[in-house]
Symmetry: none
Subunit: 208 residues, 4 copies
């Protein structure tokens, strides 16, 4: 795993840096969601963060750093959400079902943010993009592990070679709830969507 790229700051106090960056992230997420990264100005970010443009630049080195901060925070949120739904001491199949539902719920709650990553990731500098993609891969391997576990305990029928692909499919099926929402939300409620996708996937992985 790539280690988190750390952004230099002119300010020394780490506590303060974290506090200020949280303000920046909170402000920037909203702005990026509603206007997009390119159409958001640094001044808007600083204003929405509650301080001056000069202060903003005490905590970042460039506008792109803000995007990175935002993407990172979003992924953190997703991972946190995922970890929370993890139940232990159950079969892989049960665990998978819970994980998919949990993942979809997170996708729904964070749809604007997830969408944001999808749309602006390409504006990140090379290095930062790599790191963000690594995070995405981590989420995928989260599902890989569950699948593998189900395979081992016999609760899921899946060939080893399909595990990675299936993990990708699950993640994408979850993320599409955000990036195809212009159609899906017209036809399904979240509950329906969860129900249907979960059953599609599990039927495939559990039939005799």
């Amino acid at each position: 795993m790539e280690h988190r790229k750390s952004i230099p700051s002119m300010v020394k106090d780490p506590k303060l840096i974290e506090k200020r960056r949280d303000q920046i992230i909170e402000a920037a997420v909203e702005l990026f969601i509603s206007k997009g990264f390119h159409k958001t100005t640094t001044r808007e970010i600083s204003r929405a963060s509650g301080f001056s443009i000069g202060t903003l630049y005490e905590y970042i080195e460039s506008k792109e750093d803000v995007l990175y901060l935002v993407c990172d925070a979003i992924h953190e949120g997703v991972e946190k959400g995922l970890k929370e739904v993890l139940v232990n001491g159950v079969s892989g199949a049960v665990m998978l079902k819970a994980a998919i539902k949990g993942f979809l719920r997170v996708m729904d709650e964070m749809q604007d943010r997830v969408l944001l990553i999808y749309q602006e990731i390409k504006s990140l500098p090379k290095e930062a993009m790599k790191y963000v993609l690594a995070k995405e891969e981590e989420i995928t391997s989260f599902f890989e592990e569950i699948l593998r576990r189900g395979r081992e305990d016999g609760s899921l029928k899946i060939d080893e070679k399909y595990i990675k692909l299936m993990a990708h499919n699950i993640v994408v099926l979850g993320e599409m709830w955000t990036f195809r929402r212009w159609s899906l939300h017209k036809h399904y409620t979240l509950e329906e969507y969860m129900e249907m996708q979960t059953s599609l996937i599990l039927r495939e992985l559990t039939e005799e």
Copy 2:
């Protein structure tokens, strides 16, 4: 279906308009793919198109029009590719298999372009975006129809209410070959990917 949004031009001759716009599209696609929409300047577009900035603006009204033109052309390409793989006089199941493979092949051939749509669509003005999304929906319904046909001729086992969702899934599973290529292309060749995804989908739709 939304009808194609027509972009006003200062020029009268429709033949010329089409010719010039083709030049614009060809130039802009390359530029947008390699630098992104926002980092491409209108001057670059006109230069790459082979004429002056003034002339460019004889055929479009704003930079966003170019993006729209480009997205539209790409979708056209995808649809054309899809139509070509359509075989008639066969069962829905056979047709679906061919369609998925064909679709994946098109996705692979046009990966940069498809990715472009994914990444820049949000920069389109409201109206244009709607139209582009409608195109996307059209592609989805292309698969819906095949599924429905297979259901009717008994070659596919699928509940009516799952048809739309499954169509979406198929489309997304195809498109993810482009937007998750940073991972998928490391693990699978196109052939493998086609083989695996097709078999996953068809297994699901055909087992008794």
Copy 3:
């Protein structure tokens, strides 16, 4: 001799480029003389040139280009002035006397500009600085040649190895009329200064 560094322009018509750059130079010289390079803004330059900031940047690539343009034009002026005082068909000694007087007159007429070069040359990018220094060297060798000629026709007594140094001395004695003017102009008129320096130098080079 380094060849003149040519500055790229967005504009095609060379006549227009020259005309606009002349406007830029004229405006910038005044501003640089009165406020210095660093304290002059590009907006001031464009305004004083008679066009917008956008237009300014059609003819240069950076603010430093303006400084280069200005330094180059000034040197051109000095060289032109020098060439004009050159009389032919006379002994080296006579020629030298005329050249020194002419040079001093030019220094006096262009004192602000010469001073400008002295003070801002270090703000030029490496390449441009080299070129400007080469110009300065050219002026020195102008005197070298006259000295050598006088040595050959017997009208000047000077050892070959002193020729280059003496040329430097002459140039510096001329230029100091500008950069030490805070003292010299209080004590001498130009005429006095010319008379005294010329006689000092020539006495040295002509006594038996």
Copy 4:
């Protein structure tokens, strides 16, 4: 002579003020030499001085004060160097020769610093500039006095009205070793340069 402009400080203890300002000067000289006054930031100065930006401003009132401090210190160094070479109880001619050589040696040792004064002096506020120029004049009059002494003891042949000018010439011939080094250092070693310039000047002032 102008009296040394004194810079106000928030701090009371004069010993401390001197100590801190010495730190500032030492740090700033290096920075100004390598990056120039304008491209050096106050933050860099404070960091290189070994204390915070806040502390820096306890000892100066503006960035220009630092430049003044630096220029003043450099002149001090030059004067100190000059005083050291002064031999007494000898003829003016002998003294002059020693002084020129000593001056050239100082110019060589302090070339970066002398150059710095030449290039940045114009960035000083009016008042400070006047004071610095007065220092320069002092150095000139140092040579004036030697010349006058030589005239009086008969060891130098020079008309009274030429004394000031000759003093200027000597100073400039020394300083040009720094500001024309891009050419002179290519052609002469310091020893050669000293030898040649000294002999040129003394020949002029001593021949029968």
